[in-house]
């Protein structure tokens, strides 16, 4: 083992019933290095991480750590003991305890019972890592980013040599991400090896030193960051040359039916109890528009109000120029509105139910309580959309929870498409899913629009919105502050409007 190596995995194999998830994968990590682990969903990243952290036991292969050849890791506890710590996308700490308690709980060195010492120790660590939190503060009162950092601080303090960050940035805003990166660089300089799993290409190029790419459970290669331009990275992940992402808008002609341009949905002074100011909004037949703004600006709250997901407390809503009452999701569905929610896990999937049941759910509810589909009909629906959206699943009977994130999202999309809505609302449909699926979804949106569906699209990634939307409603501080269309839909103009007239660039 090289001097500088802190972790070396060789020929890792892992199979699940019916799937070979990892085939002879090698992975190595140096001291003081940030190493990106990249791959599409289902490429084997999660499995590799889980093998390393003892959640899964490997079928074959060897793992060596600095100073210890061929170690066996059978449980997360084993992993921790050899110095491997993990921080997951979801915060796994206790929100009702203090920061210090969260850092030391379950570590059995008596510190948790000596309050004063514990708080002092915690403060010392927090200061050394420059984390803006106080030891005695309740964790829930910190922002998500700080909570994330506390989780990292906890991991680091446990004498960790290898720190795994599994999608830590997906629920953070830009400034928070910056803070996190600073912390990562600090740790790097202290000699910690960091494995960074993310879908954000920008972030990879901002902080990482090397990249390991996996595809279909096999190793594609390991590259120094300077040797691998973005386009090539994407190509390696997808295993093919990439479509030019910026050009998908032109592929589909705009909808050109007789009723093109007719108002499909219209809201006047709509307001919900989720704390947004009354807003006006409309969408035309075959149009793709979007809400944009910073995280927390009220984008999601607007579409939730449209769908009746939050309690509507004021305003008027029209479908095809006729006033309708939408006070709950079912009302919206009856009016042909579909809504793919922002948080797939909390609001989207029904985890233990099969892919089939998840696909038919919305249409089934719309059809009625006393008219269940026959098994054969449900199966036919499911198969149709599994094929249409290229959903990777063992069968329609597989529980949706065991699918990868991108495929789960496709199932939810299938659920709403099966309903054949007139108006489809997609709230962050591409979050946390792989590049290939992202492009698929964007293409699909444009294709649906060209067939006459109206789509409202929300994404944190502005270029995604620019590529798909012909009109953007800009939000700031929970109210609409502008509307952009045509050539105004560009990066600079959007920034300008979000910031309030003062151009950033």
């Amino acid at each position: 083992m090289e001097e500088n190596r802190v972790l070396e995995m060789r020929g890792i194999e892992k199979s699940f019933p019916g799937v070979r998830a990892l085939r002879g994968v090698d992975f190595s990590l140096n001291k003081g290095e940030i190493h990106a682990l990249m791959g599409e969903n289902g490429a084997g990243k999660s499995t590799l991480i889980k093998v390393l952290t003892g959640v899964y036991t490997k079928d074959a292969g060897s793992i060596s750590m600095q100073g210890a050849e061929d170690i066996q890791i059978h449980s997360p506890q084993d992993a921790q003991n050899v110095g491997i710590s993990t921080v997951y996308q979801e915060i796994t700490l206790c929100p009702n305890l203090t920061v210090a308690e969260n850092m030391f709980i379950g570590r059995g060195n008596g510190r948790i019972t000596k309050w004063k010492k514990m708080n002092e120790d915690a403060d010392k660590i927090l200061r050394s890592l420059d984390i803006p939190a106080a030891a005695t503060q309740q964790l829930a009162s910190c922002s998500i980013a700080v909570q994330q950092m506390v989780a990292i601080a906890r991991a680091v303090d446990m004498d960790c040599k290898v720190l795994i960050l599994d999608e830590p940035t997906s629920s953070l805003d830009e400034q928070e991400v910056e803070k996190l990166f600073k912390l990562m660089r600090d740790l790097k300089s202290k000699g910690v090896g960091i494995i960074f799993v993310t879908h954000f290409l920008d972030q990879v190029y901002e902080v990482c030193d090397r990249i390991t790419v996996l595809r279909d459970g096999t190793l594609v290669g390991e590259y120094a960051i300077a040797d691998l331009p973005r386009v090539e990275l994407v190509a390696k992940m997808l295993g093919k040359e990439m479509d030019d992402l910026s050009d998908i808008k032109g592929e589909n002609a705009a909808y050109s039916g007789e009723d093109a341009g007719d108002l499909v949905f219209e809201a006047n002074g709509l307001q919900s109890d989720a704390g947004i100011k009354p807003f006006n909004f409309y969408i035309k037949k075959g149009e793709v528009n979007g809400f944009t703004g910073l995280l927390g600006s009220g984008r999601s709250e607007c579409v939730r109000a449209i769908f009746g997901a939050d309690r509507v407390i004021g305003g008027e809503v029209k479908m095809h120029k006729k006033t309708v009452k939408i006070s709950k999701p079912l009302d919206a569905m009856k009016n042909g509105i579909a809504y793919l929610p922002e948080d797939r896990k909390i609001d989207g999937i029904i985890g233990d139910l099969s892919v089939r049941d998840n696909i038919i759910l919305a249409l089934q509810v719309l059809t009625g309580f006393f008219k269940p589909f026959s098994r054969a009909k449900a199966q036919a629906f499911a198969e149709e959309y599994i094929k249409k959206l290229n959903i990777k699943t063992a069968s329609a009977d597989t529980p949706i929870a065991s699918l990868s994130g991108g495929n789960q999202q496709k199932v939810i999309l299938a659920r709403w498409l099966l309903m054949h809505p007139e108006y489809l609302i997609l709230d962050e449909p591409t979050r946390g899913i792989d590049v290939g699926t992202k492009v698929d979804i964007q293409k699909l949106v444009l294709e649906l629009a060209s067939q006459g569906m109206s789509v409202t699209f929300i994404s944190s990634e502005t270029d995604e919105m620019i590529r798909t939307c012909s009109r953007l409603v800009v939000m700031r501080d929970r109210k609409t502050v502008g509307e952009l269309s045509g050539d105004d839909v560009n990066q600079n103009k959007i920034m300008e409007t979000i910031a309030g007239g003062e151009a950033k660039s």
Binding site: P17, K328, P329, M333, I349, I350, D352, L353
Partner: protein, 360 residues
């Protein structure tokens, strides 16, 4: 071919209940071999004291006495699936529904000469009372979002006193021998009436699951309430309905219980039956935290509990020790259905497969 079957079998929810039944059968057969005059599977005909021919034997006893529990298991499964919690008031609400039925049938008399109201009216009143109790529990759980066990603790505690109060603490006795048919035999029919009642309830449940979306909605709500709401399901209503259905099951169980003796004893009627009903759901391999469910497995679980009880009575096990035996069974089943053991089992079968492949 066989290998696939094995794997499917291992992952099947009905595996554990069926295994339990097979084991109980084997234990009984062994007992029969030792005691030559006993015959577990024998069903013979007897003439009962009303002069009619009826079937008799341990199997009939199990089917007969397991009926109430099987009926309750239907409702308890739905409540568990939808709310992720259990109703611990079913024993007490059986007392309430039964008491209300007696009050109507006896018209407030302790020893009436004739029925004060037709039996069907008494039963309908019991249904209404049962559903009201269910509605009370359901309201607390679905609208006020109180944990099911805590919400139902109220009726669990107060129920038997309420039952006693309904009849002024008297113990009325139903004079009409026809009323006793529900808990014993209808003249001329050799199979216990309870078997028909349970079968009817099971069929109704099956139809309900087949011809409505109750199953899908209940599971969806139990697994992910927020998501269900965004798909147009009303989780509050679904939870409420599950408690109402359990209330109906309670009323039917109350009819059987009261009919068995034509009277009621408020403090001991259906005592501890809530725990058995919950156990039935668990024996069926259903998660007590809600979500996916298998109704048939729960019903099977109910009969297994009765099977076990009857077996232990057969062996002359001290009846005060019955709960201890039940506990042992629970431990075994819970361990066997735990994910850890299941994983081990399936990996074992995988290894076997690999081994066979290697040999070939």
């Amino acid at each position: 071919m066989k290998k696939i079957d094995l794997k499917k079998l291992l992952s099947n929810q009905l595996l554990i209940p069926f295994t339990a039944i097979i084991i109980l059968c084997i234990v009984n057969i062994i007992y029969d071999c030792v005691n030559t005059d006993a015959a577990f599977f024998a069903i013979e005909t007897k003439t009962n004291n009303s002069g009619f021919t009826v079937f008799s034997g341990p199997l009939i006893t199990i089917l007969d006495n397991g009926s109430e529990l099987a009926i309750l298991a239907i409702g308890m499964t739905l409540v568990t699936a939808a709310s992720g919690g259990q109703d611990i008031s079913v024993g007490a609400t059986i007392a309430i529904a039964g008491s209300a039925m007696l009050r109507v049938l006896c018209g407030g008399n302790t020893r009436p000469e004739t029925l004060a109201a037709p039996i069907i009216v008494g039963f309908l009143v019991a249904c209404i009372v049962g559903m009201l109790c269910g509605a009370f529990n359901g309201l607390l759980v679905s609208v006020f979002r109180i944990q099911p066990m805590i919400a139902t603790l109220i009726l669990f505690t107060a129920g038997r006193s309420i039952a006693a109060w309904i009849n002024n603490n008297e113990l009325p006795i139903v004079p009409d021998p026809k009323f006793a048919y529900f808990g014993s035999f209808i003249p001329g029919i050799p199979i216990p009436t309870t078997v028909f009642i349970a079968a009817a309830c099971i069929i109704v449940a099956a139809l309900l699951l087949k011809f409505t979306n109750l199953g899908l909605y209940t599971q969806a709500v139990g697994i992910n309430e927020s998501s269900s709401r965004l798909n147009g399901i009303n989780p509050t209503a679904i939870k409420f309905i599950s408690f109402i259905i359990l209330g109906l099951c309670v009323a039917v169980a109350a009819l059987i219980k009261v009919s068995r003796l034509s009277t009621i004893n408020y403090s001991v009627i259906a005592k501890d039956i809530e725990m058995d009903a919950i156990l039935a759901v668990a024996l069926g391999g259903n998660a007590l935290s809600g979500g996916k469910f298998n109704m048939w497995a729960s019903i099977l679980g109910a009969y297994i509990i009765q099977f076990l009880t009857t077996t232990l009575y057969r062996f002359q096990v001290d009846s005060s020790a019955l709960p201890a035996y039940k506990a042992v069974v629970v431990i075994i089943l819970v361990v066997f259905s735990s994910p850890v053991v299941r994983d081990k089992l399936s990996s074992l079968s995988n290894k076997k497969k690999a081994l066979k492949k290697g040999v070939a």
